[in-house]
């Protein structure tokens, strides 16, 4: 989460008289291994919220210690995305990027060969998600706490309002049970 956003949230939490402008909208906690997670019907949030945040705790079945969570919007699997990633792996800082991509590579989580109870986490912001005059941008921070920490940004080159968010694995085929994905809304100014 950006410092600017935190500043807003902090002021709201401290002075809101018990209320805040950061709302939990939906949570999915997986009871079984699941191929993807989608938050749909987001148009219903457009009148009340400007920005969305996805927070997750996840692990995939990739046969390695780390996998990447990928994101698509509105079910669009065309080559309409770009992303940048700045990552630390314990040995070096690496910058990677993709343009004309079919998804946004977000942050790293644990995978099948990681320690049994180890999970990866991520916090992703989808800014101005319902604005139809500009493309949609995403930013995030995540990691698994041993081999991967990552800052990312991504863009969807489409001015349509975001009505669904799908999270998937980059290489694995399922998220493990107990993985948790929560969607939050940040309210519009009044």
């Amino acid at each position: 989460m950006s410092f600017m956003l935190l500043g807003i949230l902090n002021s709201q939490a401290a002075g809101g008289g018990g209320g805040t402008d950061f709302d939990l909208l939906e949570t999915t906690t997986l009871a079984t291994a699941t191929s993807s997670v989608t938050f749909s019907g987001l148009g219903s949030y457009a009148s009340e919220y400007d920005h969305l945040q996805v927070r997750f705790v996840a692990r995939t079945n990739r046969g390695s210690s780390v996998d990447i969570v990928i994101m698509t919007l509105n079910g669009d699997t065309g080559s309409n995305y770009s992303w940048h990633s700045l990552g630390g792996n314990g040995g070096a800082v690496e910058s990677t990027a993709g343009s004309s991509q079919v998804k946004i590579n977000t942050v790293g989580v644990t995978a099948a060969t990681a320690t049994g109870s180890a999970m990866g986490v991520g916090v992703l912001d989808i800014l101005d998600f319902a604005n139809t005059s500009k493309n949609t941008t995403v930013r995030g921070l995540g990691g698994e706490g041993r081999y991967d920490v990552r800052l990312i940004s991504g863009a969807w080159f489409n001015t349509a309002a975001v009505t669904s968010i799908t999270l998937d694995q980059n290489i694995g085929t399922t998220f493990n049970s107990t993985s948790r994905f929560s969607l939050y809304g940040i309210k519009k100014a009044v």
Binding site: L6, L24, G91, T115, G143, Y147, R180
Partner: protein
Amino acid sequence: MATPTYTLIDSVTLGSGVSSVTFSSIDQNFGDLVLVGQIGSSGGLTRFKMRLNSDSGTNYNNVLMQATDSNTIGSTSSADGNRFDINGGTYTESALTSLFTAQLMDYSATDKHKVALIRFNSVTGTFAEGVVAFAGRYASTSAVTAIQIYNTDYDFLVGSTFFLYGIAKEL
């Protein structure tokens, strides 16, 4: 039905110099915790650390990337340490110009290890500066009931602030 959240659980503003701040008996009814600090150190070079549940065992794993004022970037990691290294390297924070935001995800769960995401930056203008992105895994499935932030070599400056927020995960 949406659930308002990002709730202030507790806060500390230091009226005197201390080397450690602990939030204990943390409310278990949230999904994630966010700890925000604006801190400084009464002395020179120092490091800020974090422990959970007063656990000083070798249960902490760290990976971070950082940039310093010497135009150096790098990434380090460690396994089986006895704390999270919030700012990784060594910085000078002689004024209240160091900021951190720590996100502790699924802290009350008892079926998974706990991961902390931390953003740290220090700007002094005179001495070392740095910006850090950190991920740490606490290798315990115990619910987190206490968080300790401590300064290894000096006291935190008077006026250092710490805010602990809870974020709901259940509607």
